[in-house]
């Protein structure tokens, strides 16, 4: 088991190293930072001095190690476009993305689970078929188009919801959130719904499949034989047993939500990390791009590690198989 986990950690570290290398190459490409700092008409002595101070006279490998050291401390230098340090910029944008991803996950659970339960219990009914059709559409429609059509319907057509930015935000210990004001919540509805739809359809299909599986088992038949109400059987016995995988998967999809947030944030001009990344790409703001690359891969590596550990804890068969080899 320890070998398995060690192997996974090594694999994660390898991914991070590759991403760091890509970021480092990006930095090399930006051009000479010395000229950038000193300007065109600096003397050769000044240039040499700064070059030594910045460690640019050392071999590339040493520079890369230096870069790694800075990256581990979250130090990526200044944003070329906004003249703020990249770490401040990301710390500013992170809460917006986390808020969006969190609310989307809650929406996906709160709507997806009941829809899945209904589709399983009343299989073949008209409404259940409508749910399945919706889920097919949700899987095959591109996220950005869903967002655009939401804006067309609710902002342009009906004029009931805002389509742009975050509205009013409150800062709670450095963590900005729009959840405490009506304007903030109104601004959150469309982006969160757009981001939630894909996960919602996934959860709905998962709950439906798991429910159908559980409803066939002996203990459900026995519960029916005991004369329990349909309500007690469906919700007390069946749903409870389907929820474990559903909650696990939703938790693990949080990384996916943060990735998909790039698209949603661009459509709704939501000031999160994803929008920051896209803007950085369009302005060739390399330090911001590099920081985002490293951060997002770190998040994914950690989540994947968690998944592996979790499967290990949940599935004893895996433990047996690995210890026998």
């Amino acid at each position: 088991m320890i070998a398995f986990i060690a192997q996974r950690i090594l694999q994660g570290l390898f991914v991070l190293l590759v991403v760091a290398l890509v970021s480092f190459v990006l930095f090399q490409y930006v051009g000479d930072p010395v000229l950038f700092i000193l300007g065109q008409d600096a003397t050769q002595d000044q240039v040499d001095l700064l070059r030594r101070e910045l460690g640019l006279d050392s071999p590339v490998v040493v520079q890369f190690v230096h870069f790694l050291g800075n990256a581990v401390q979250g130090e990526f230098g200044m944003s070329l476009r906004q003249q703020i340090s990249v770490s401040t910029l990301i710390a500013e944008r992170l809460p917006a993305t986390l808020e969006l991803a969190f609310v989307a996950a809650v929406i996906a659970l709160v709507i997806g689970i009941p829809m899945g339960v209904y589709a399983a219990i009343r299989r073949g009914s008209a409404l259940a078929q409508v749910f399945m059709a919706i889920s097919l559409l949700g899987v095959s429609l591109p996220t950005f188009l869903i967002g655009i059509f939401f804006i067309l319907i609710f902002s342009v057509g009906l004029g009931v919801l805002p389509s742009f930015g975050r509205g009013e935000v409150v800062s709670v210990g450095g963590f900005t959130t729009g959840l405490f004001s009506w304007a903030g919540i109104r601004h959150l509805i469309l982006p969160a719904l757009t981001l939630a739809i894909f996960q919602l359809t996934l959860i709905m299909r998962l709950v439906r499949t798991e429910m159908l599986e559980v409803l066939r088992t002996d203990y459900i038949r026995f519960a029916r034989a005991r004369g329990l109400s349909a309500r007690a059987i469906n919700f007390g016995h069946a749903l409870k047993n389907t929820l474990v995988p559903v909650i696990t998967i939703t938790g693990l999809q949080l990384g996916g939500l943060i990735a998909f947030a790039i698209i949603t944030e661009t459509v709704f001009q939501w000031p999160g990390m994803g929008l920051l990344f896209i803007q950085a790409v369009n302005f060739a703001d390399i330090p911001v791009m590099a920081a985002y690359l490293c951060l997002i891969s770190l998040i994914f590596v950690l989540i994947n590690l968690l998944v592996d550990l979790l499967y290990f804890a949940v599935d004893p068969r895996l433990r047996v198989r690995l210890s026998s080899t």
Binding site: Y29, P142, F144, L145, L152, V156, F260, V267, V281
Partner: protein, 306 residues
């Protein structure tokens, strides 16, 4: 020819195709899209790239059936006076080209890697499968976005062909994994069969066994996967272009058209965004449904149940 058609109609797959309205409707729609896109210079009523015929006084005209629209522009015009219908047909051509190119490249890479991993085994197998694990742990769209973004930053004013190259690679890189895994699994099964052993015994070279003997027997499921993958690739391309990291602006795809239309969302010119959006949805859903039907029809296990 007629005999062949009869033969096809009487076969299992042919009969299931004719019996399923979803199958032939999605086939017709896909065919119409591919045809209109491939022959857009002849099918489209205008040439949206011919600056000589563009007239700014024709800009932002509504569709024909709305007050102020003109018969010459069935779906209206965009901000530069380009006919929307023509722009969509030309855009679809680029979307489909990028989609097909990415899928083709994914298939080639995936099949070669899968064959090597499955037939050779050893460290090659371990290495390729680890690589697949790593790829699968990131969402495809994220990998594509990051690569396209990095490519855009490295070559800001790249030549058009280079920009297309980066785009195709960024869609291909997360795409080949599914083929590699499928081919590896079936290669493992095939390489234990007698015909492979026989070939080995009479001294056929490994590469010849892999590509001439094993490949034809593992390629079937790949075609079905590839059809569904085309729809995914088109959507990925559209998403990247919408975000501004896709095709170069000089050759607008459906995603670029939607990006342009996004600027006119609030000024009432809804047709600039809605029609390219609908075209993308219709194309993606049709290809998807066709792929779904193929998966069911070519799967003998599902067929025997009927």
């Amino acid at each position: 020819m007629i005999h062949r058609i009869h033969q096809w109609r009487d076969s299992d797959v042919g009969a299931s195709f004719l019996a399923s309205p979803v199958a032939w409707v999605s086939f017709l729609v896909t065919f119409a899209c591919v045809f209109g896109a491939a022959f857009s210079p002849w099918v489209a009523p205008h040439n949206p790239f011919d600056l000589a015929t563009l007239d700014l006084s024709d800009a932002r005209l509504p569709p024909t059936w709305i007050e102020g629209g003109r018969a010459a522009y069935l779906l209206g015009t965009d901000d530069q006076g380009r006919d929307m219908l023509s722009a969509i047909l030309y855009g679809m051509r680029i979307s489909l080209a990028v989609g097909f190119a990415s899928v083709l490249l994914s298939v080639v890479i995936g099949v070669v890697m899968g064959l090597l991993a499955g037939y050779m085994g050893g460290w090659l197998d371990v290495f390729f499968m680890r690589l697949c694990d790593v790829m699968l742990s990131f969402p495809a769209i994220l990998i594509a976005l990051l690569i396209a973004g990095v490519g855009r930053a490295l070559f800001p004013d790249a030549h058009e062909s280079l920009a297309f190259g980066v785009l195709v690679i960024s869609i291909t890189l997360p795409g080949w994994v599914q083929y590699a895994r499928t081919v590896r699994a079936s290669t493992l099964v095939e390489s234990r069969k007698e015909y492979v052993m026989a070939a080995q015994v009479i001294g056929v070279a490994s590469h010849r066994i892999m590509f001439r003997h094993v490949l034809p027997n593992v390629v079937g499921p790949i075609l079905v996967l590839a059809t569904i993958h085309v729809a995914t690739a088109i959507i990925t391309e559209a998403t990247l272009s919408f975000l501004g990291v896709g095709v170069p602006p000089t050759s607008p795809s459906l995603g670029t058209l939607i990006r342009i239309g996004n600027d006119y969302l609030f000024s009432g010119e809804w047709w600039i965004i809605v029609f390219p959006g609908l075209a993308l949805i219709v194309l993606a859903v049709a290809v998807n449904l066709l792929g779904d039907w193929m998966r069911d029809a070519f799967n003998p296990r599902l067929r025997s149940g009927r």
